[in-house]
C-alpha cells in the first residue's frame, strides 16, 4: 500500500487537490443556493443526465486537448509561452479565410485547411519564440501581448473581408461542405476533431518520450545549463517547442470551426478561451501528453456542470473558475502533502533497514 502511494504520489496529490476543489464547490453551493440539494445535483450529475450534455463534454474536451498538448510541449521545455489563445484565434481565422475562398474535394480540402490553420498558428507563435531565442525577451509577456494583437487582426480579417452579411451576426461566410469535419454520432455534435485530438495526444507522447528531439526538449526544461553542456542547441529547442505549440493550438481552433460552427463565430476576447484552458489542463496533467486527455475531460465536465448550474439554479457558473484556480494552486504547490510523503518514505526506509 505504502509503496503504491509513493509510486503514484504525484497522481494522488492531483486527485486530492481535485477532491478539495470539489468539496469547496459543494460548500459554496450550500452557502449561496436557495435549493442546495438541487443545485448540487445539477452541478455534479448534470453533465451525465442527458445525452446532449454528455455529448457536450466530448465536444468541449476536443479543442481543450489540443491546447493542453500545445502548452505541455512548451512547458516541458520551461518556456512559459501562453500564446495558445492567440495562435488558436488567428490560426482558425486564417484557416477559415482559406477554407471559404477555395473549393476542392473533401479529402484534400480538409487536410489542407487544417494545415493552413496550423501553419498560421505556428508562424504566430514563432514570433515570441525568436524574440526569446535571439534577444532574451520574456516569452510570457510577449506571447500574452501577441494574444491581443492576434485577436484584433483576426477580428479585422473576419469583419472586413470574410463577413457573411446575410447571417445577421458578425460571423464569417460558411465553409464549403468539403471542409466540414463530419459529426459521427447522430443526435450530437461530436465530430472527428476528438479522434484527431486523441491521435495527436499519442503523437506528442511519442515525440516527447521516444525521439531525440523530444528528449532535448525535456532536458532543456529540466536543466538548461546541463542541456547546453551536453551539446543541445537550446536555441533550436526554444523555437521548436513554441512553434509546435502554435501549430497544435491552431488545430484545436480549426477543428472546432470545421466540426461544430462551420464558420468563424468568435467575436469577443477570451472567447472561446481554450488557450487558457490549455494552461489549466497542462498543469493538472503535469505536462504529460497522455494525462492531458483525462485532465481535459475533467475540465470539460466541470465546464458543462457549470453551464447546467448557471441554467438550472441560482449559482453563477463563475464558481467553476474559482474552483479551477484553487485546484491549480494546490497542484503547483510542491510542498502540499510533502510532509506526508516524507513520513511514508522514512517509515519505508526504517522498515527496510530492520528487515
Amino acid at each position: 500500500m505504502e509503496k503504491f502511494l509513493l509510486k503514484y504520489f504525484t497522481l494522488i496529490r492531483v486527485i486530492i487537490a481535485i477532491a478539495i476543489g470539489i468539496v469547496i464547490s459543494i460548500f459554496l453551493i450550500y452557502l449561496i443556493s436557495e435549493e442546495p440539494g438541487f443545485s448540487l445535483k445539477s452541478f455534479l450529475l448534470g453533465p451525465f443526465l442527458s445525452r446532449s450534455r454528455l455529448a457536450h463534454v466530448f465536444e468541449t474536451a476536443s479543442p481543450i486537448i489540443f491546447c493542453g498538448l500545445a502548452i505541455a510541449v512548451a512547458f516541458q521545455a520551461k518556456q512559459f509561452n501562453v500564446g495558445a489563445e492567440g495562435s488558436l484565434y488567428l490560426g482558425a481565422a486564417l484557416g477559415t479565410a482559406f477554407g471559404v475562398s477555395t473549393n476542392m474535394p473533401a479529402f484534400i480540402h480538409i487536410p489542407l485547411v487544417l494545415l493552413m490553420a496550423g501553419l498560421a498558428g505556428a508562424m504566430w507563435s514563432f514570433i515570441p519564440a525568436i524574440l526569446k531565442a535571439r534577444w532574451q525577451a520574456s516569452e510570457l509577456v510577449s506571447s500574452l501581448m501577441l494574444n491581443y494583437v492576434a485577436y484584433f487582426i483576426g477580428l479585422y480579417l473576419i469583419n472586413f473581408h470574410f463577413r457573411d452579411k446575410e447571417a445577421g451576426f458578425l460571423v464569417s461566410y460558411q465553409l464549403p461542405e468539403s471542409a466540414w469535419l463530419a459529426q459521427f454520432i447522430p443526435g450530437t455534435r461530436i465530430h472527428y476533431g476528438i479522434i484527431l485530438a486523441l491521435v495527436f495526444a499519442l503523437l506528442v507522447y511519442y515525440f516527447l518520450y521516444h525521439t531525440t528531439t523530444g528528449y532535448e526538449i525535456r532536458i532543456t526544461g529540466f536543466n538548461e545549463r546541463f542541456a547546453r553542456f551536453g551539446g543541445i542547441s537550446v536555441f533550436k529547442v526554444i523555437i521548436l517547442c513554441q512553434v509546435i505549440l502554435g501549430f497544435l493550438a491552431a488545430l484545436g481552433g480549426m477543428t472546432e470551426v470545421m466540426g461544430i460552427h462551420r464558420r468563424f463565430v468568435w467575436q469577443n476576447l477570451g472567447q472561446p478561451g481554450y488557450g487558457w484552458d490549455g494552461v489549466i489542463v497542462a498543469i493538472i496533467g503535469r505536462n504529460h501528453p497522455l494525462l492531458i486527455i483525462p485532465a481535459s475531460f475533467f475540465l470539460a465536465y466541470l465546464r458543462v456542470g457549470g453551464r447546467v448550474l448557471n441554467l438550472m439554479s441560482d449559482v453563477p457558473a463563475e464558481m467553476i473558475t474559482v474552483i479551477q484556480s484553487i485546484i491549480i494552486l494546490l497542484i503547483t504547490a510542491e510542498a502540499f502533502l510533502s510532509k506526508w510523503k516524507y513520513r511514508i518514505t522514512v517509515r519505508q526506509a526504517e522498515r527496510g533497514s530492520t528487515a
Binding site: 524574440l131 534577444w135 472586413f160 504547490a333
Partner: protein, 328 residues
C-alpha cells in the same frame, strides 16, 4: 497641419496621456518592487482586478471613500500575500501560482458581482463613488501646461507621489536595501543574516499594495463602475513597462508615460478612417516591440561586460552570456 498631428499636439492629448498612464504607473511600480527582490509578480492583472472590485463594492455598501480605499488596498496586499504564501511556503512555481491567482481573480470578481448586484457584466446597478478631481491652485493658471497637469483625478497625483515613495522605500530604507540585496544575490544576502523569504514576502505584499491603487483608480476614477475583466491586460502592459524602465523609479515613470502616450494615441487614431480593430492592437504591439528593444539592449550590455571580464582575465571561459552575472 494634419489632423492627426493637431490632435497629438493638443492639450486634451497631454491630459489623456496622464489619465491613461495612472493605472499603468501604479502597477509598474508594484511589478518593479517585487522584481527587485528577484520574484516576478505576474499576478498584477488579478491584483488590480480584485482591488477594483472590492473598492466599488465597499464604496457602494458603506458609502465611504476612505473605507473603500482601505479595503481595496487590503485586497491588493492580500493577493501579494497569497502569492508569497504559495510560492515561498508551499514552493509553487511563481509563474504558475500567479496564473492561478489571475484566474481566481477573474472568477471571484464576477461570482461576487453577481451575488451583490444580480448582474454579471458590470456594477452599474450599484451606486458607487469615485475619487475626486483635484485642481492645483497656482499651476492651474499656467497656460497650456496648467490645463495638462491640473484637474486630474487625485489618484493621478497619487501615482506621481508613489514614484517618490517607491524611490524612498528602495534606496532610503533598510527594507529597500534588503530587497535589492536579495534580488541581486540571495545566497550572499542570506550569508549576512538577511531572511530571504521574509524579504521577498514583504516585496510581494508591497507589490500588491501599489497594484491595488491602479485597480482602484480604474473602477473609481477612470470610470465609475466595475466591469468584468476591466483591467484588459493593463497588468501585463505594466510588466512590460517595468521591464523597460529597468525596475528603477525614474525609468518606470518614463516607461509608463510612454505606454500612456501610445495608449492615448490609439484612442486618437480611432477618430481617423482606420478600422478600430487595427487601432486597438497598437498598444499591445508597441509593448512587444519595446520589450524586445529593451531585452536586446540588456543582452548587449551583458555581452560587453563578459568580453571585458575576459580581457582582464577575471574569467576564462563563458559558455553563455545569459548565465553571467556581475559579482560586484
Amino acid at each position: 497641419m494634419s489632423p492627426l498631428l493637431r490632435s497629438i499636439l493638443s492639450i486634451e492629448f497631454g491630459f489623456a496621456v496622464f489619465r491613461v498612464m495612472t493605472p499603468l504607473l501604479f502597477a509598474a511600480i508594484g511589478v518593479s518592487i517585487s522584481n527587485l527582490a528577484g520574484t516576478i509578480n505576474i499576478s498584477m492583472e488579478g491584483t488590480m482586478l480584485v482591488s477594483a472590485f472590492v473598492g466599488v463594492l465597499v464604496s457602494a455598501f458603506t458609502e465611504s471613500l476612505v473605507l473603500a480605499l482601505l479595503a481595496g488596498v487590503a485586497a491588493g496586499v492580500a493577493m501579494g500575500a497569497a502569492l508569497s504564501y504559495f510560492h515561498l511556503r508551499l514552493k509553487a512555481d511563481i509563474i504558475l501560482a500567479a496564473i492561478a491567482l489571475n484566474l481566481f481573480a477573474t472568477g471571484i470578481t464576477v461570482f461576487l458581482l453577481f451575488l451583490a448586484s444580480g448582474d454579471k457584466g458590470s456594477s452599474s446597478s450599484l451606486k458607487s463613488f469615485v475619487f475626486p478631481d483635484l485642481n492645483i491652485p497656482l499651476i492651474k493658471s499656467i497656460p497650456v501646461l496648467g490645463a495638462i497637469i491640473s484637474g486630474h483625478n487625485v489618484m493621478t497625483y497619487g501615482a506621481i507621489l508613489a514614484i517618490v515613495v517607491f524611490y524612498i522605500i528602495t534606496f532610503k530604507t533598510p527594507l529597500g536595501l534588503r530587497i535589492r540585496a536579495v534580488g541581486q544575490n540571495p545566497n550572499a544576502a542570506e550569508s549576512v543574516g538577511i531572511n530571504v523569504n521574509r524579504t521577498r514576502m514583504w516585496a510581494l505584499m508591497l507589490s500588491g499594495f501599489f497594484g491595488a491603487f491602479g485597480g482602484l483608480y480604474l473602477s473609481m476614477g477612470y470610470v465609475s463602475w466595475f466591469a468584468r475583466d476591466m483591467t484588459a491586460g493593463r497588468g501585463w502592459i505594466a510588466i512590460a513597462a517595468a521591464t523597460l524602465g529597468g525596475y528603477m523609479p525614474l525609468g518606470t515613470f518614463l516607461a509608463s508615460l510612454l505606454f500612456g502616450a501610445v495608449n492615448a494615441l490609439a484612442i486618437y487614431f480611432a477618430s481617423l478612417q482606420i478600422p478600430s480593430e487595427l487601432i486597438a492592437l497598437i498598444p499591445y504591439l508597441a509593448t512587444v516591440i519595446a520589450l524586445t528593444i529593451y531585452s536586446a539592449q540588456a543582452l548587449k550590455t551583458r555581452t560587453r561586460r563578459v568580453e571585458e571580464a575576459k580581457r582582464v582575465g577575471k574569467i576564462t571561459e563563458v559558455t553563455d552570456v545569459t548565465e553571467f552575472k556581475e559579482s560586484s
